[in-house]
Symmetry: C2
Subunit: 660 residues, 2 copies
């Protein structure tokens, strides 16, 4: 199979490529731009089998994401045992609005009238347009859960509960209380800490020796009266520099019960890791205050997911935290200074297991916190979690994983060797250093389409705005779209310079009047509230903004270019590019290809991977094997330090141009 080379390939040529992502699935084509809205109506049953009132959830995702993944990433549980590969035929959903093709798996699974009613397998429905989706109640108590990018995880959580009924002691059976209990759970080599021993004899006798042992790995962390085996909860945290996401999980079923997010309370200390590290270097007390802020963020999310999920926080026994090396260090109160200065050294790759209470969380008093290990100072636990969620260590395809952000982490696997590196992209993607830049919040332009040949009332510039409100600024994906569209129509040349007014009038007469100046600097106006609004009051893209983006994308493409070179690979060899992280997942694949942020590949090979750090954290909670896999990545992945490479600067200069 030949692969089209440039960004301007025909979508029809590569429609078949959808097969790479989902074996056996009819390809759902999309042009790699924009957003889709999914309106979920979720049905559920109470413990007694009676129906609960349905809940409504709205979800906004990049086009092409499957309904199953979109639901999963947002904590909406859909039956599945195959991991979203179209084989278990369990992930039944009903598409209420919008037309969705019938796959051969759907035809085998549903009756004619069900198909007419809109029933489909959720893992096969690619959301290429807005849909209303009805999710039936869970029918199975699963032995496995689907998380991450189609990862099917056999449930074997570190957290186990065992209900036992013990014989009471006699003079001829004076076994200690602990031995009496552990003899009854003889498939585990349990160890008990002091806090359990302090209560053990009382709990056993007050509950007539009928108790539930709460076990984390092989540590007996509590003994609860009676049978509490149904209550097995844990929280997965994606501890981002900007945004922190918490997911409450029932680890017995793999079901997410609630998901919520908030800004990291460390924000007042600086928007990125370097400013926060600097804060600790300036002020002796800053580390303590940053640690408290991280703890307070996690604690608030824990409280919220427990309330939303209707779970007693004291029945949450474990948390997993995926964060970059600096966020991890700060949350644990480890001095981050060496992370911020060459030679960029971590204190330890694998943080020790700590009590959740040491982080400031009020969960079960002996609940533990697992922190993901890091590969390097700038390829942290969030990336290790993301590699787990995307199966970077298992998939035999050649895949490139890019987490776009201020610090951009890049992982390349050819199915044998796995390389990782970090690229200092700077704040452009988060709206920093961009004149009209802002975070991806209400009023941010996130999608831009430009039509230089628009006629009559058709708009020459179409904006997608978060919250569908008056545009206030430009977020990262909007910035990438803007630059990409201006390159596409020729208003930006390959070197990143806005063309002259004369050239603009020739190339795109309908857009030329949007080129303006603020002082000496040329700008392209994206949104002018009223015809009278001064240019400086508009939302615009400046020449300097374009330069910022050029530097950012060059840093990133230098990273994967050098990794590709190291494995002797060409762009076309990459079978899948995973765009991860809160920004990467919302990037328009077509624009990313066009500006050279990712290799020149068909857009269907560019996959929005969602919050893979959070997904990896869930996997670590659901499976000790997956957790061991995360630790094994420390050995399996080679970290490439770019700042040490003699060819870095040459490659970087090569990558600055958009034509490269």
């Amino acid at each position: 199979m030949t692969t089209p080379e440039g960004p301007d390939f025909s979508l029809a040529d590569v429609a078949r490529e959808g097969l790479i992502e989902r074996p056996g699935v009819e390809p759902a084509t999309h042009d790699g731009t924009g957003r889709v809205d999914l309106a979920f109506t979720v049905h559920a049953k109470a413990e007694d089998g009676s129906a609960l009132p349905p809940t409504q959830r709205g979800v906004r995702v990049p086009p092409g994401v499957t309904v199953f993944d979109a639901a999963s990433w947002n904590g909406i549980a859909i039956d599945s045992t195959c991991g979203g590969h179209g084989t278990c035929h369990k992930c039944r959903i009903r598409v209420e609005g919008g037309e969705v093709p019938i796959t051969r798996h759907d035809a085998r699974t549903f009756t004619e009238s069900q198909l007419t009613d809109g029933w489909r397998l959720g893992c096969l429905v690619h959301a290429t347009r807005d849909l209303a989706v009805e999710v039936p109640p869970l029918t199975t108590r699963p032995k496995a859960a689907t998380v991450g990018i189609g990862r099917q995880v056999i449930l074997r959580p570190a957290l186990q509960k065992r209900y036992v009924e013990l014989a009471e002691a006699t003079l001829s059976d004076q076994r200690t209380d602990l031995v009496r209990l552990t003899d009854a759970i003889d498939d585990l080599e349990l160890t008990a800490d002091l806090h359990v021993l302090r209560r053990l004899s009382t709990v056993l006798r007050e509950s007539d020796f009928k108790v539930t042992a709460v076990v984390l790995d092989e540590a007996l962390i509590d003994v609860e009266p009676g049978d509490t085996t149904a209550a097995r909860y844990a929280i997965a945290f994606d501890l981002g520099t900007t945004t922190v996401v918490g997911t409450l999980l029932d680890v017995g079923t793999g079901t997410p019960l609630a998901v919520t997010s908030s800004l990291n309370k460390q924000q007042p200390f600086g928007g990125d890791v370097i400013t926060r590290i600097s804060a600790t270097m300036m002020d002796k007390d800053a580390l303590g205050r940053l640690q408290e802020a991280a703890g307070a963020t996690l604690a608030e999310l824990a409280t919220r997911v427990c309330r939303e999920g209707g779970v007693d926080p004291s029945q949450v026994y474990e948390v997993a935290v995926a964060g970059n090396a600096t966020m991890t260090a700060l949350a644990l109160g480890i001095d981050p200074e060496p992370l911020g200065v060459a030679p960029f050294v971590m204190t330890a790759a694998q943080p020790p297991s700590v009590l959740a209470s040491e982080l400031g969380l009020s969960l079960h008093p002996r609940a533990r916190a697992f922190f993901f290990p890091a590969l390097g100072a700038y390829v942290g636990g969030d990336i290790v979690a993301g590699m787990l969620a995307t199966g970077m260590d298992r998939d035999k395809r050649t895949r490139l994983f890019i987490d776009v952000g201020t610090n951009c982490e890049i992982v390349l696997s050819d199915g044998e060797t796995i390389l990782s590196t970090a690229a200092p992209a700077g704040p452009a993607f988060e709206g920093g250093a961009i004149r009209c830049g802002m975070r991806a919040a209400d009023g941010a332009i996130e999608v831009i389409k430009v039509d230089p040949h628009a006629l009559g009332d058709d708009p020459a510039v179409t904006l997608g705005v978060i919250g569908d409100v008056e545009p206030r600024g430009l977020c990262g994906s909007g910035l990438v779209d803007a630059v990409s569209e201006l390159v596409r129509v020729g208003l930006l040349d390959d070197t990143g310079r806005l063309v002259t007014d004369e050239a603009a009038k020739e190339i795109a007469p309908g857009l030329a009047d949007r080129l303006a100046r603020i002082g000496e600097e040329r700008v392209f106006v994206l949104h002018r509230p009223t015809p009278e609004t001064e240019v400086a009051e508009c939302v615009y893209l400046s020449q300097r903004d374009v330069r910022e983006l050029q530097f950012a994308k060059a840093a990133i493409s230098t990273g994967w270019t050098l990794l590709l070179e190291q494995l002797g690979l060409e762009h076309r060899d990459v079978q899948q590019v995973l765009l991860a992280g809160s920004f990467g997942s919302y990037l328009s694949p077509a624009s990313a290809v066009r500006i050279g942020l990712v290799p020149k590949l068909p857009v269907l090979r560019i996959v929005a991977a969602g919050n893979v750090a959070g997904e990896g954290a869930k996997m670590a909670l659901l499976s000790v094997r997956e957790r061991a896999g995360a630790l094994a990545l420390l050995e399996e992945v080679s970290y490439v330090e770019l700042s040490d490479r003699p060819d870095f600067n040459d490659t970087f200069v090569d990558q600055l141009a958009f034509g490269s």
Copy 2:
């Protein structure tokens, strides 16, 4: 070799038995009664080799104890590498006052003039009379230490310090700080907890990567700037129900630096374990207060030994605690109730490792506390420590270990099988339930000799009084002596009844006037301050006191009788009886034999073993092998529950009489 049967054997007959204790040593004979005072003058050198002012220490021990042991038990260090077996010829001391025989080892070790000056090997000098002893400064940095009953412990403490000078990180060597350190200590599989990681990067950089790793087992508990390897301290605690003893140890040399003791601050809750367990059952808050009291006792002793030893408490990295099961549970805040009621079940045999700070100790913040495991609710960690210190698990002789107290623990080994049990002796040995009973404090009569044929001014009754003051009462060893002497002269018959006044006049005319009555009860007056003093105001032994002692000794002798039966052994098969604990060690062996508290054996087979629990605690701190040996005892020793035995009552009745 035949062994005399009764208690009235000739001492000459069995003089050779001393050889059993100390191979190659000329036997020092003693009659198994009384006390000796040793006045030590201890010389020491400062770090720079200059002489420090000598210190004076007075020590009071039962006769027959070697000068080496007497010094060792009291924290006075004497050079030795052979464990007091007379082979290393290092334990040189000078006897300043008192005549001491010259052994063949002394003759080989010292010159004629040295011998004349009083130089001897300390392990061969049995203190059969008061001695003044000069101890030279330590000359060697030993690889082994002598503790317990001649146990030679190769120094391999859990606490290790390693000084390393590390290469600084570079871009081409980005190993984490932890890996950089652990790579330099590659013979250990070190793990670091969060508290170490929090400081690691700062300490490394502030000390130019020249640091000392502080290791407990394989846990890295601290990284200190520079070379601190010389400061390796630990504290051994004997946590008794009544008395608590703390010994500060330099674990690098095995040298005890200070020893001190105090009453257990739990005393206000009751004198014995049962009353303290009852307190926790009556009052919900009592367990917390008992735990605090235990911690406060240990903390005060820790402060005192550190001050006396001139050691910074933050350089004490480990403590070992040997206590009975109840003391251990209370110190750890574990509910002791099941220990106090049938079927007498422990929460756990091996308490978990805890931080010393959790006990309330202000030592190194990550200092750990090791608690000895227990064999049963009434054969606790103090006995396991005692078994370690006396080598009950290694010695191939048939030996009986008896820790005499309110609860009396008994261990019997025939060199193959080891049995243990507990006998409820009651409070008689601690002065409880005895009319004139008191603890072994100033004014307590501790030694009694009776001469029915005393003439003229010779006293018919000779009293040894603690503190050499006016007698105020009778402590346990005095009680045993009193009963033993009255049995010997015939004023008490075999059934424990004081003979009639008529019979007394015939048997012992010089003593008959000491028989009197208080109300209906007959008493024997031991001390009458003035001829006019009322009998009730005198120090006396009552008929009921004798009964109390009979019950106590019968409980104990029933214990070892049943253990002997279980192994098919006779009294004469026992090659050594070790009397342990603060009371047992001060018991007169002759009296113990005469009243039947121990098997009928020559007194030289009855050995005062000193504070073996504290010695065991020291061993656990000095050697991980010995500590493992203590844990192995849980498997090697069978616990025999006497209250479950059908033959218990019959044996008990048999053992009540003194003639049995």
